[in-house]
């Protein structure tokens, strides 16, 4: 059981370059901040599976951002309302509304549109910021973390030994 779990984690962490990690966090914006059962999230999941993105970072980021979404939802709804009720965009929306494909994406839902727009806006900054933070962590913080007692405790555990074996 432990070896199975360790194998799984290994696979997940095989793509662990800063770029892959940060891409994972960036894609997590869409899944975390927007309503989960939407068609666009299927595309995101497809991309996450196909593109070499760190899946651990993606799932972790999704979980954290899902909690953050409770605070961000009111902002998303206001953004969605303002966009969908904007007279200058009315024709655009009406044209999109005639298409079943776009309606399948539920673009005319205030929360969904607003949250997708926010996630899209934050996508690139998230890549940049998270990449920076990962580099800083690896260069400076990881060494400090290794010295902590808890880190030593984890490394002494059976689970970590199996994990290391697989790595070797």
């Amino acid at each position: 059981m432990l070896s199975l779990l360790a194998k799984f984690l290994k696979v997940l962490n095989s793509d662990a370059s800063p770029g892959q990690l940060s891409l994972g966090f960036a894609f997590a914006l869409f899944v975390g901040l927007t309503p989960f059962f939407s068609l666009h999230n299927l595309i995101i999941l497809f991309l996450v599976c196909v593109v070499r993105v760190n899946l651990s970072a993606f799932f972790l980021g999704s979980a954290v951002l899902a909690l953050v979404a409770f605070a961000v939802d009111p902002i998303s709804v206001s953004v969605g309302e303002s966009l969908l009720n904007n007279p200058q965009l009315l024709q655009t929306w009406t044209d999109l509304y005639q298409s079943d494909v776009w309606r399948a994406f539920k673009f005319n839902h205030t929360l969904l549109l607003g949250s997708v727009v926010i996630a899209a806006i934050l996508f690139v900054p998230m890549i940049i910021v998270s990449r920076l933070l990962i580099s800083v962590y690896r260069d400076r913080l990881m060494k400090w973390f290794d010295k902590l007692k808890i880190s030593k405790l984890v490394k002494a555990s059976k689970f970590y030994k199996v994990y290391e074996k697989l790595g070797a």
Binding site: C49, S76, N108, T110
Partner: protein, 637 residues
């Protein structure tokens, strides 16, 4: 570039999606069956049973077999059932979670079929639906109650029974009766108390004996005289007391007699007075004729209203629940779940939309057990609970087919719920309907045959209804098996009636509409109806009279016997009084007088004795002289 592509991920994704799709395709039928049964049952408040649901792919369609929707008011019957429903589906809106059904065709539709098992729901969810519909329930029951349905019912509403009247009215018979009873008890007590103080016959005899003892015989001495005088005085005082008691008793009896007599005469007159008052109150002055239409057609009108309203009430909550809709929207606005903003389109997508529903069903039997009247083809368009999205109301058309005894039947309806409150309107026309042997609600009458035209319209809005129906009955023939006066009178009058109209209106709240029936038959049958009501009124009067007299007797009892008793008591008082008076007049003579009398008596006796002696001496001397004279004469001769 390819180093960025994770081929294993791609394969995994495709595999997972394919597995999910396969699962849904296989499980869709059973899942839909469960969903239809679960949510359908919740919606109608009774069991919805589905035999099978299967999916077809070319074109995308759904086939539902063996559907039974139980009637929550009659769990062993189905409100509606059908053998097969074939519904085509638009695939893409399904991905949006919207069920858009361009066409549904039903076969084997029937209403009121028997079930093999009870369709009642036992869960709490059903109770919610039942509770929400409860306020709209029993429309027809209330409607039926306001329509006079048959003769006895009509009579009881126009003329209540004698017992009902006596129970509810404040009767003089009862008021005076209770007063008489109370007075009788009171006077009886006074009289009994007074009579208890009277001297008995034995006492009177004792008085006589005592009096004789006191008055008769000579005084032995002065002392004896004095004692006797004392005794006589005491006796006289007793006489006085007794006389007063008699006077009191007499007075009590006199007052009692007078009061009871007055109350009795009041009581005797009360039933007559009561009857006169009741007659004035319960007389049917001109009311009979205007109720005739209700009496004749009320039963049927009530029955039709019940059936039609029943079906309407069952269907209405499924289409739009205005209250729940508003509540849901208010809740949504509160919770910041976002909302859909709709734009103009020629392809609106509500959550659920049946564009066309068509089916054919058998018409109900009328009259009962006469066989089906034919079939009706029904087409309903735009069935949805979001009429505002499709911007169209739900419309209904029903046309008769293979009709028996009917030329044509057309029903149209519009259920408009784009605005709140909703507005549902229906129109119906029936032409050339050959009615036969329809029982009417009065005097055993039957409409033997008639060619009928019916036109009706109904509007329901905001819990209120406004229904109007007109029936034109041509070539009408009536008959009755009753041998009563009114039946004969009515059949005779109706013989001349070839055509008549009946107009029915129902207005007001769905749960309690005011139903009125009018007919031009009323004028034609005014006389016959009045005669019948007179007869009924006379019967009621007789019953009332008897019951009032029974009440009278229960209070008064046999008053004459009681009066006799009082008279006897009064009579005996009279004789006692006389006796006492006589006894009271007795006087005791004085001792001196007695002595004087004695002396006088002695002197008289002496005198008489002396007189007698002198007479005897004189007689003796005379005889001696006569003897001497005779002797001398003898000597001479």
């Amino acid at each position: 570039m390819t180093k960025w592509i994770r081929w294993s991920g791609l394969a995994g994704f495709i595999t997972v999606v394919a597995l999910i799709a396969a699962f849904w395709l296989l499980a869709l039928g059973p899942l839909m069956k469960m969903a239809v049964e679960k949510y359908g049952s919740e919606a109608v408040g009774a069991q919805v049973n589905v035999a099978d649901i299967s999916l077809g792919f070319s074109p995308l369609s759904l086939t539902i077999k063996g559907v039974q929707v139980a009637d929550k008011d009659a769990p062993m019957e189905n409100m509606v059932s059908f053998d097969t429903a074939v519904a085509t589906l638009e695939p893409f809106p399904l991905l949006l979670g919207k069920a858009i059904i361009p066409d549904v065709k039903l076969t084997g539709v029937a209403m009121g079929t028997a079930r093999s098992h009870s369709g009642a729901l036992s869960s709490g969810t059903a109770e919610k639906k039942i509770e929400s519909a409860e306020s709209d329930k029993n429309t027809s029951e209330s409607a039926d109650e306001t329509v006079q349905s048959n003769e006895s019912e009509a009579d009881s509403k126009a003329l209540p029974s004698a017992d009902e009247i006596l129970e509810r009215e404040e009767l003089l018979t009862m008021i005076y009766g209770e007063a008489f009873e109370g007075a009788y008890e009171q006077h009886k007590k006074s009289i009994d108390d007074a009579v208890a103080n009277l001297p008995s016959e034995k006492a009177l005899k004792n008085y006589e004996a005592d009096l004789n003892r006191i008055l008769k015989g000579k005084f032995k001495s002065l002392k004896d005289f004095k004692q006797r005088k004392k005794d006589l005085d005491a006796l006289k005082a007793q006489f006085k007391k007794d006389k007063k008691a008699i006077a009191d008793a007499k007075s009590a009896i006199k007052n009692g007699k007078s009061d009871l007599k007055q109350k009795w005469s009041q009581l005797k007159g009360a039933p007559k007075q009561d009857l006169a008052n009741l007659k004035g109150k319960y007389t049917l002055d001109g009311a009979g004729a205007s109720n005739l239409a209700a009496l004749l057609f009320g039963d049927d009108a009530g029955g039709y209203a019940e059936t039609a309203l029943g079906y309407y009430e069952k269907v209405r909550p499924l289409l739009v629940d205005d209250e729940a809709k508003a509540e849901k929207q208010a809740l949504k606005d509160k919770r910041l779940d976002g909302r859909f903003v709709h734009f103009e389109t020629d392809r609106p997508l509500p959550d659920f939309w049946v564009k066309t529903l068509s089916f054919t069903m058998a018409l109900p039997e009328f009259p009962k057990d006469s066989g089906s009247m034919g079939q009706v083809a029904v087409k309903v368009v735009d069935i949805t609970h979001q009429q505002d999205v499709i911007d169209a109301p739900t419309r209904l058309w029903a046309n008769g087919q293979n009709l028996k005894n009917m030329k044509s039947l057309k029903l149209t309806g519009v259920l408009e719920h784009r605005t709140s409150p909703g507005n549902d309107a229906f129109d119906m026309v029936v032409e050339g309907w050959n009615l036969s042997n329809i029982k009417l609600g009065l005097a055993g009458l039957k409409l033997v045959s008639s060619n009928t035209y019916v036109q009706a319209n109904a509007a329901f809005s905001n819990g209120e209804m406004n229904v109007m129906g007109n029936g034109l009955f041509k070539q009408s023939k009536f008959a009755s098996k009753d041998r009563t006066v009114v039946a004969k009178e009515m059949v005779a009058a109706l013989k001349n009636v070839n055509q008549f109209t009946v107009t029915a209106t129902a207005k007001g709240e769905l749960t309690d509409p005011s139903i009125k029936l009018k007919s031009d038959l009323d004028n034609q049958l005014n006389k016959a109806f009045d005669k019948r009501m007179d007869q009924k009124q006379a019967e009621l009067e007789t019953k009332l009279k008897k019951k009032l007299n029974d009440k009278l007797l229960s209070y008064g009892g046999d008053y004459t016997d009681q009066l006799k008793e009082l008279n006897l008591t009064e009579g005996s008082l009279g004789s006692k009084s006389k006796s006492l008076e006589k006894l009271g007049k007795s006087k005791l003579s004085s001792y001196e007088d007695q002595l004087k009398a004695d002396a006088k008596a002695k002197a008289d006796a002496k005198k008489a004795k002396a007189k007698a002696k002198a007479k005897a001496d004189a007689d003796k001397k005379k005889k001696e002289l006569e003897r001497k004279a005779k002797e001398k004469l003898k000597k001479l001769f």
